[in-house]
Symmetry: none
């Protein structure tokens, strides 16, 4: 029988996860100490360990959360979902580009994180392929084209982290023009 409500438990978990994500985005997984996270979220070290068995487990939880956000964004079957995704990267209130780079780096080493990340991309691929099917001229295989579209998305993340004044509008317009030439 739990002594506190499940809502409280979930809120605590989210509070810790948000603090961790903020730290990780700022300093990376390995330059962030558990003490940093403890300070940021305002609860004790002991309590953090009641929600996450280890730092690695926290990293995986964050990767998982980030993944589900992305997929959710695409699962809305809007025609313009893809371009909207690109636009979102340019919004200042979406600081997860930096987190994405950390996740990608960690995916090199950790099979679990690599699987999650790859699964993320696969889900995006499926969603986009479904949208494009039938709309492509002869000679265009949807699969590699979707890979290119996702690559554009990933590269935009990188470039936005490096140059916060990047002209997101011009970028998206160019991508839109490219797509228009095909469809």
């Amino acid at each position: 029988m739990p002594r506190v409500s499940e809502a409280h438990l979930n809120a605590r978990r989210q509070q810790i996860l948000d603090a961790a994500a903020a730290c990780f985005a700022r300093e990376g997984f390995h330059r962030t100490s558990m003490q940093d996270i403890v300070r940021e979220c305002g609860v004790s070290a002991g309590l953090v360990y009641r929600y996450f068995a280890s730092k690695d487990e926290m990293i995986e939880a964050i990767v998982g959360e980030w993944h589900s956000h992305r997929v959710a964004a695409l699962s809305v079957p809007l025609d313009r979902a893809y371009l909207e995704l690109l636009r979102e990267i340019g919004r200042p209130e979406a600081p997860d580009g930096r987190l994405a780079l950390q996740v990608w780096a960690e995916s090199v080493r950790s099979p679990e994180i690599r699987a999650l990340s790859r699964g993320n991309v696969d889900a995006m691929r499926d969603a986009l392929v479904a949208q494009l099917e039938g709309a492509l001229p002869a000679g265009f295989d949807p699969d590699p084209l979707v890979r290119v579209m996702i690559a554009i998305y990933q590269g935009l993340i990188v470039q936005t982290v490096w140059d916060e004044n990047l002209d997101n509008d011009a970028f998206v317009r160019t991508v839109a023009a490219l797509i228009a030439r095909i469809l």
Copy 2:
């Protein structure tokens, strides 16, 4: 006299740098201990520190080296330089992709590495813009287009790390077709 030839010194430096790059690509900067590098390159810890004042300095040296390789590849003013760059990512003997992801992650935190990385992209941009100028139809600004091209390059790196069976040929063919539709 152990005063040794400059060639020897350079070789030693490269030997250490190569070992470090291999470790970093495998495990990331922070999961790689100096002892790992020492083991990999077969010289003593003390000697490593005669060539690099700190682990951070080694990381910067590796980023710098990787940067100059990329720029060199593009400075060859071949018409197909860009597509060739994409193709190279697919070659198994080029383990740079994993290193690139580590560098990107580190660029979030380190202004020096961010500057180097950004400088790398800027150099690529300049080279590509020079190649495209005049060849574009009205309404196409070369700058955002080149940004998209570089994004494709960056995203391909990410996807290749995650899926070594990715069909590089199909990917490059699709990119070529896209470019052909514009020019």
Copy 3:
């Protein structure tokens, strides 16, 4: 809850400081490793660093503590405070002499420790000058005389460290006789 009483915290701090002082007195600051201190005080290395941010900070804390002991001894406005100070150096339960020599050596290098040590001497000077004022015959400036008195104190420390059989009584009697000839 391990939130622990302030008394406990202070005791821990003192326990570490005492262990460190013992090590330093025996082997000097630089021949004493943090591991030596850790062994001597019976707590873990990590805990030591919760109380002192670095070895240097520990050294400064010890200098500061030693300083306040001296000043306290003199602030008691006894007529004989000075001679009592000299006598104390001869007591075997006062192992401070060796520590004093370490502090003096370190004061050469560290402006902070030099300032502390000098402040110590200045405080002694002020206290002694206040006691002597008015009691000196014409032609005797209290300031240099007090400097000589302090020099005697310092030199006695040195000689006591070198010769534990030094006849402290005879030394103090001679100093008393000298002072008597002036006053």
Copy 4:
């Protein structure tokens, strides 16, 4: 059969010793690395080790040298030798006060250095006692009085290191007045 003249050998040895003394006076024995000394004296590390088997041996050599300087100063049987010794401490071209503090600190730990230092003081004592014998009023034992004189000398060294503007003249005049009151 030596390949170079003995004069050359001696000069080299002295060159190294002087460089070491300068470093030690500045930073202390333990904060001075052999590389520091190598840099300061301008010969190679290997060569230093042909003259001194270890850093500790160098320290002992320096202590011995410093010791013989002191004794030499006193062995001149001048009536005023003692006051002259005090005056010398105030001269800016005599930077060994700082070295003396290092030696004293090291004497706590090293029986060899302690023996040398104590021997130094003993030699001073013998010289001074010889000078005072017969000149003292009844009730004055020469031995403790000489100990006090040496203590004054030692304390002056300490205070001069801490305060380079210390009024050496006033100090010496006070000591002279004290002595005059007895003799």
